[in-house]
Each structure stands twice: as structure tokens, then as C-alpha cells.
Amino acid sequence: MRTESKLGLALLLTPLLLWLALLIFIPQVDVFLVSLRERIGVGQYQTSLANYLTFFNEPLYLWTFLRTAMMSIVATLITLLIAFPVSYYIAKMIKGRMQSALFLLCLVPFWVSELVRTFGWMILLRETGVFSNILQFVGLASGPVEMLYNDGAIMVGLVYTSMLFMVVPLVTTLESLPDEVVEAGYDLGGNGLSVLREIIVPHAMPGIVSGCIVVFMLSLGNYLTPTMLGGKESLWFTELIYSQFIVRFNWELGAAFGFLLLMLSSVIVWGMLKLTGQSLEKTMG
């Protein structure tokens, strides 16, 4: 019986372990090893930290790196601010069929590929696009207005792409908050603000943190949205990685960038957990 159950466990774990090893662990280790190589001649390499030094010595790389982190944090916060009331409304204010219908509406955009959705935004925002035409028609603008290719457009795109990943964990945690706990908050003398601060937000904390982690990681690693809505000059870190690998064919530097991005997201997620006093088990479990 014991050996049988051990065999069963091993068989069940095999796909997971294979997946983790082949798709995550081995590639990351390889990326790390590649990042430590320095090309000194045709087909000749030596181990060094030269790629990392290049990164720290080139202000543009460093600037892009920090800018990507900051923009992702801001995008995460904006997503949270928009998603929280939406989730509260879906989870607590309405019941029954309307609830599932609204939840489904949040999901609907994700039936279309991210590429198509981003093109949708381009149609709205470009110089000859819908918004520009409306503004001219109403008389608020005298000529065509270009709303694409700036940080605002990137932000809109990032928030839009991430919304669902914030709404789902928030709705789940808020739904588990019994109505009578909120009512008790009011009954004992609380007002809207204090009930929100002392009862609703602390209860929703695991959902807030897990939503923020997912949205932050998605924004940080997003390539499509910043490139399409921000244009060539959008200075997104994933673009740097892409161009090192594909355009410059400098795999060593690209690998170093990739590894730095992994470090960055790990540090920020760790910091976020520490700051909110949550643990990974609590937020993901």
C-alpha cells in the first residue's frame, strides 16, 4: 500500500516536475549561464560579468529598466483603483443573474487575442481614429489629434489588459465577506469610510495583493502593448531584450537583461508582500 501510494504520488507529480524543470528551471539556468559569457572572438567565449557591467554603465538601459518598473507599478495601482469598486459592485451590491452577467462582461474582451484588442485601441486613439474625429466634429479640436505613441496610451493599454486579472481575485475575496460583517460595522457606529478601511480592505487584502502581483508581473513582462501603443520610442525593457536577441543577435546581453528583469520582479513582489504583511501562501492559497 505504501509503495503503491508513493508510486501514485510520483506519477501525479511527474507532469508538474517535467513542466517546472523543462520550461522554467532549465531555461532560466541556461539564460543565466549565457548571461555570464563574454564573446572575445569568433566562437570564443569566456566567463565574466561584462554583460552586467554594460547594463550598469549605459544610462539608457538603466533608465529604461527603472522606467518600466515605475510604469508597471503605476499601472498596477490604477488597475487596483478602478477594479476595486467594480469588484465590490459585482460581489456585494448585486445578486443572481446580473452578477454572473457582469462578471462575464469583464471576461468577454479576453475571448479576442491581445493583439486584436490592442489594435482596437489603436483604431480609437490614432490621428485618423474615432476619438480624434469626434473631437473635431464637436469642435474641441481644430485638426487631427494624435493620441497614440505616448505614455498615456501605454498606460491605458496596460490597465485595460490587466483589468480581469485584478477583478477575479478581488471578486473572489469580497464575495467571501459576509454581508452581516459589513452591517455590523455600520451598526456599531462606523461610516462608509471607516468600514472600508477597517473591515472591507483588510478582508480583501489577500485578493488585493495577489491581484497586484499578477498585474504587476503581466505589465512588467508585457511586450505587445507598450510597443504598439507607445511606438518605437516607448522604451520598455522587454523591447530591449527583444532587440538584443533578435535584432542585434547579442544573446549574451539579452540574457543578462532577462535575468535582471527576473530579479527586479522578484524583489518588487517580495517588497510588496513585506509591506502588506502578507505571505505568498496566504495570497495564492
Binding site: 452591517e183 451598526d187 456599531l188 477597517e198 473591515i199
Partner: protein, 366 residues
């Protein structure tokens, strides 16, 4: 003396249906008032209107003589113990109890002192730093009450707070709630569907059905002198027969049931006429069981028959008796004094009760 809580013609309509239909009552200071009714009778709606979570369609709610209709729930001098207690799981016990005081803007030292006193009062000193889920069901119950009582409300509302507890603890908490009420000397309004909770704890009970109060009175009044057939059926256990009134002599009537039983009962002042259909209610504990007919000479209802079932339940054991040549089974309390220990299925027994114990009502739909 102004009553602590007074509701006049309180009505709440949801669409066309009236969940609460013109209910009036008043609760004197320091008393324990219960609203007893089956689920869906509108008792929770009354509670939520008093707490301020629902607005009445008509009528007025006065607390200590002042109408509170235009007062928001967080400003009303009433607090509520919720069905599932609704303790705040994100706070420790002291923060739970101190929540209302913090909202009222009291200084921290005063809050700490009051929380300490409250914990002392409920017999759980020193648990302030524990988490909510570390407490047992009964302890949570007491914390939920303390959380309200530190605010010194004029009226404390309790919405079936014992429902989630197991039987043994429920029995214990009944007594404890009653003693907490006299310790805090506050008016309690308690709603429940459990008659024994209401009977044990209350000074006054209102029995509610279909949005209306059927009867209001002390536990004894409801038990011995129900005003309506619903109250007779809902409060306590009872045998119930329907039949035609075949004889009437002042308060005393004879009822001929469809299966042919002849029963004697009393109208207790209700207008019932000869030939009318009526329901008679007789409590199992009002029926005497005996081995010999002679022991029952004082009773004007006497039936001889066989035991068809023994329902053993300790002190609340019953037997079902079927009369000679009859179909109906009569539920009778079985005294546990030993003389009926040998009773078995099929044993011959004699039962009897006085006509005064047979409450008759005009046959209704209930």
C-alpha cells in the same frame, strides 16, 4: 414610564406582499422581549427595520420616546447581535470590542479600560489579544454581546444568535443570555424560531405568523391560553383533532371527529356554535396515562386502548395510544417515575384528560 422601544403600525411591503403587516408593540425598560415565529414570518424584517437597515413602508419606531425613522443605522441607540455573530475576523478580540468605542472617538486609555471591564463582565478576562477563530462558539457569542454592550445601547437586538450552536451549548447559553441581560440591565429584543429559547428567557413573547402578531403575552399565557389555533400549534407540542361540534353547554363543548372519536373540550370564551367545524388541541403532557380506569375517574375524557409506539426520549418520552375501535393516535407524555417502565407496544392502557385542557378553535386554514 416611557417604553425603551415602541413600534406602532409598523409595516413593510416588498412589492405586493406585506412582510410585516401593521405590527404594534412596546417593550418596557430592562425587559426581555422575544418575537417567536417560523422562518419567513417577517421577524427578521422587523429586526432590520429597528436596526435601520430597512426602511418601514408605514408606521413608526420610537426608542425612549423619540422616533428614529430618520436616523441612520450607525447613529441609532440600538445595536445588534447578528445570526452568525459577525465578529470582525481581521481584528483581535479587544479590537472587536473596542471597534464601536473607537468609532465614537473615545481616547485610547478609556477604550482599553472599557474593553477590559467588558471582558471581565462576560467572564473572559485576558483574552483581548486572541484572534476570533481561536475562541469556542460560546465564547464568540459572549464577545459579540460584549461588543454591543460597551456602547451602552438603549436596546440590544439579537437575531437568532444561538442557531449555530450545538444543543448542549444552546441550553447553556439560554441561561447565560438571561443572566447577561440582567447583569447589563438592558432591554433585549430577541428573535427566534425556537420556542424553548423564547419560553425560557423572555419576559414577554410575541408569536408571529405571516407578518402579523398572533398573540403577545408571557410564556405561561401563550402556553396555557393560546389565543389562536396557530399559537396553540406552534408553542409547545400538541395533539390536534378536527371535528364537528355536536353538543354545546356554556363553555363546554363536545367534538365529534371524522373518525368517530367523541372529545370534550372548552371554548375558553371563543365564539363557537353548535354544528360548526372546530379544531381541538390537547397537549401530550395534559393527558394522564394509567393502568386502570379507576385512576382516571376525575377526568371527563377517558379512552382505553393499546400502545402503538413508544417514543423514548429520556424525560420527554411519549407513547402513541390508539383508542379501542378508533383510528387516530393520541400522543401522551410518559411519566418516568417507574410505574410505566414495563409498558410495551401493544400494552393495554387507559388515558384521560379534563375538558378544560382541550382548547377549541374554529376550524381555520392553519
Amino acid at each position: 414610564m416611557t417604553p425603551d422601544l415602541e413600534c406602532t403600525h409598523l409595516t413593510k411591503r416588498f412589492g405586493d406582499t406585506a412582510a410585516v403587516d401593521s405590527v404594534s408593540f412596546s417593550v418596557p425598560p430592562g425587559s426581555f422581549f422575544s418575537i417567536l415565529g417560523p422562518s419567513g414570518c417577517g421577524k427578521t424584517t422587523i429586526m432590520r427595520m429597528i436596526a435601520g437597515f430597512l426602511e418601514p413602508s408605514e408606521g413608526d419606531i420610537q426608542i425612549k420616546g423619540k422616533s428614529v425613522l430618520s436616523v441612520a443605522p450607525n447613529k441609532r441607540p440600538v445595536n445588534m447581535v447578528f445570526q452568525h455573530l459577525a465578529l470582525f475576523p481581521m481584528m483581535n478580540i479587544a479590537d472587536n470590542i473596542g471597534y464601536g468605542l473607537r468609532r465614537a472617538g473615545l481616547p485610547k486609555t478609556e477604550i482599553d479600560q472599557k474593553v477590559g471591564e467588558a471582558l471581565e463582565r462576560i467572564g473572559l478576562p485576558g483574552i483581548g489579544l486572541r484572534k476570533v477563530d481561536e475562541l469556542s462558539g460560546g465564547q464568540k457569542q459572549r464577545v459579540a454581546i460584549a461588543r454591543c454592550m460597551v456602547l451602552e445601547p438603549d436596546v440590544l437586538l439579537l437575531d437568532e444568535p444561538l442557531g449555530a450552536l450545538d444543543l448542549k451549548l444552546r441550553e447553556h447559553m439560554k441561561i447565560e443570555l438571561k443572566s447577561l441581560q440582567s447583569a447589563f440591565d438592558t432591554t433585549f429584543v430577541y428573535i427566534t424560531h425556537d420556542q424553548s429559547e423564547a419560553l425560557v428567557m423572555s419576559d414577554n413573547i410575541a408569536v408571529m405568523n405571516n407578518g402579523r402578531f398572533e398573540q403577545m403575552g408571557s410564556a405561561r399565557e401563550l402556553y396555557y391560553r393560546p389565543d389562536t389555533a396557530f399559537v396553540a400549534g406552534f408553542v409547545g407540542d400538541t395533539n390536534r383533532w378536527r371535528g364537528r361540534i355536536s353538543k354545546k353547554d356554556g363553555q363546554n363543548i363536545e367534538l365529534q371527529t371524522e373518525s368517530g372519536m367523541m372529545l370534550r373540550g372548552a371554548t375558553h370564551g371563543r365564539p363557537l356554535a353548535l354544528g360548526e367545524q372546530a379544531d381541538m388541541f390537547v397537549r401530550p403532557e395534559a393527558i394522564r396515562i394509567a393502568h386502570s380506569k379507576d385512576d382516571l375517574a376525575v377526568f371527563d375524557n377517558q379512552i382505553s386502548g393499546q400502545v402503538t409506539s413508544l417514543l423514548f426520549n429520556g424525560a420527554a418520552s411519549r407513547v402513541l395510544v390508539r383508542g379501542e375501535g378508533l383510528q387516530d393516535e393520541i400522543e401522551v407524555n410518559l411519566p418516568q417515575s417507574g410505574e410505566f417502565a414495563s409498558l410495551n407496544k401493544g400494552s393495554d392502557v387507559h388515558i384521560g384528560w379534563s375538558s378544560d385542557q382541550g382548547n377549541c378553535f374554529a376550524a381555520g386554514t392553519v
